[in-house]
């Protein structure tokens, strides 16, 4: 297995959708792919974390004018 194949099918490897033996054998001899795998997993974690952080999302209180506009749109329909 080459680095190209390892990286191309990395997600399937992580989901155990492929024969993991070949991938593990490649990892045993390729420090660069070991690092790629680790940094890929770190990427997924930081991507999730950055939006899960409550400080990064909008304040709990939604804008009053938006609430009023939504309720007014409903009244118009009914």
């Amino acid at each position: 297995m080459t680095c190209r194949e390892f990286i191309e099918f990395l997600m399937e490897y992580l989901l155990s959708e492929v024969d993991r033996e070949k991938f593990d054998a490649h990892l045993a001899v390729c420090p660069s792919c070991v690092t790629y795998l680790k940094t890929y997993q770190e990427t997924v974690k930081v991507g999730k974390a950055v939006f899960a952080d409550p400080n990064e999302t909008l304040p709990e209180e939604p804008p009053e004018d938006l609430i009023k506009a939504i309720l007014a749109a409903r009244s118009k329909r009914s």
Binding site: T2, C3, R4, E5, I7, L10, M11, S32, C33, T35, Y36, K38, T39, Y40, E42, T43, V44, K45, V46, G47, K48, A49, V50, F51, D53, E56, T57, L58, P59, E60, E61, P62, P63, L66, I67, A69, I70, L71, A73, R74, R77, S78
Partner: protein, 209 residues
């Protein structure tokens, strides 16, 4: 797809309070509608903003999502929590808005993917990152950098990354909402993650050979 069809798969236990709220909504109770909007519009706005990166569009989408929800209250079967149901509706509305917007020039995904030599080795061997993801997330500047790198991803890939990794929809749900195959969702997700890794790497990689 009709926004109101975005019915979630995950049935969850209903509280008595939610059941009462739904009954009141179906009876046309104004206060119940106000409560629904007040309780959920903040989070829905955050979701829409994540997809659209534009506050005006996000507000429009939240309004459209509520109108779609009001319209389909009677056909809502209660197979999921109200919050989950609204979450799917706002995602669907945001995706429809994205489709209707004019395309802007963006990076090619190919330029953001790892490069390989003819023998299959990486052109630039991977290097360890200096800090763990936990350490990185302590730092406001780094969080801003990660957000800006996500925003640089081509839209088709960024959308899948948000649906799967951030909004935590499963592959089948994401495929249905986007009108593509499950395999296409998997390929786009992997490419989006690889591209994001590639964008972050120059900032985080350590020194050495």
């Amino acid at each position: 797809m009709n926004q109101a069809d975005a019915n979630p798969m995950d049935a969850a236990a209903w509280t008595d309070d939610e059941a009462r709220l739904l009954t009141a909504l179906r009876a046309g109770d104004d206060l119940a509608f106000e409560r629904l909007v007040r309780d959920h519009s903040g989070r829905m706005l955050a979701v829409a903003q994540r997809f659209l990166r534009n506050s005006e569009d996000a507000r429009d989408v939240v309004q459209e999502a509520f109108i779609a929800a009001f319209r389909s209250l009677n056909s809502f079967e209660g197979s999921a929590r109200l919050s989950t149901w609204l979450h799917r509706i706002v995602i669907n509305a945001a995706l429809m808005k994205l489709r209707s917007r004019r395309r802007v020039p963006e990076d090619s995904i190919e330029d953001l993917l790892p490069k390989f030599l003819e023998d299959g080795h990486q052109v630039h061997p991977s290097r360890e990152w200096r800090r763990s993801s936990e350490e990185m997330m302590q730092d406001e500047q780094t969080r801003g950098l990660v957000r800006s790198c996500i925003e640089r991803l081509p839209e088709a890939y960024r959308t899948v990354l948000i649906l799967r990794d951030l909004e935590e929809l499963d592959t089948q749900e994401a495929a249905t909402l986007l009108g593509i195959t499950e395999n296409a969702v998997k390929i786009r997700l992997h490419r989006a993650r690889q591209a994001l890794r590639g964008l972050l790497d120059p900032h985080f990689r350590g020194g050495g050979a």
